[in-house]
Symmetry: C2
Subunit: 100 residues, 2 copies
């Protein structure tokens, strides 16, 4: 499994709009991308204007395909990114899962 | 749901030992902590000597209880932390889950 984390630093006052777009995005991913097995958004308990995305893909090809979908271009690049101050992404191999 | 991420920067040469201890830890968490619903370890695809833990708890009390378990004291504090250069932890509320 390949995991992408994306840390969004959001323009002050825009977090509710970003969450609305991510809700739309999550629904599209769930409907259209079976190779994305998890798509989660988190809000730090003690930091304003920040969100952390945690996305799981069956392999690297699925992650690359995700970035080429209409929903990625339309919602993430078109609506979300313009509301961000900073976007930091990292890619990981899942090496241990207690549920396995 | 409460999510803890822990970013470990590991003393060079010690990552295999840390992973061995985390495997032991994950088994203990799975056996003894039903309120921890996910315990995962990730390795960045392009950074050496780093691991990211992603842990999910049903609530904040479960996260606090986790830090008081014998396995946390014995394995994390006793064996893992001495092999780390840096440990950065963050706590999040899970605000959106496409699987829901």
């Amino acid at each position: 499994m390949i995991v992408l984390t994306a840390r969004y630093t959001i323009t002050p006052g825009q977090i509710d709009k970003v969450l609305e777009y991510l809700r739309e995005m999550a629904a599209r991913v769930k409907a259209d991308e079976p190779a994305c097995t998890m798509y989660r958004v988190h809000k730090p308990v003690d930091t304003e204007d920040m969100l952390l995305l945690y996305e799981v893909y069956v392999d690297n090809e699925a992650l690359e395909a995700h970035k080429l979908t209409p929903q990625f271009k339309e919602i993430i690049e078109g609506k979300v990114v313009p509301l961000l101050v900073k976007r930091e992404r990292e890619v990981f191999d899942l090496v241990l899962d207690a549920a396995e």
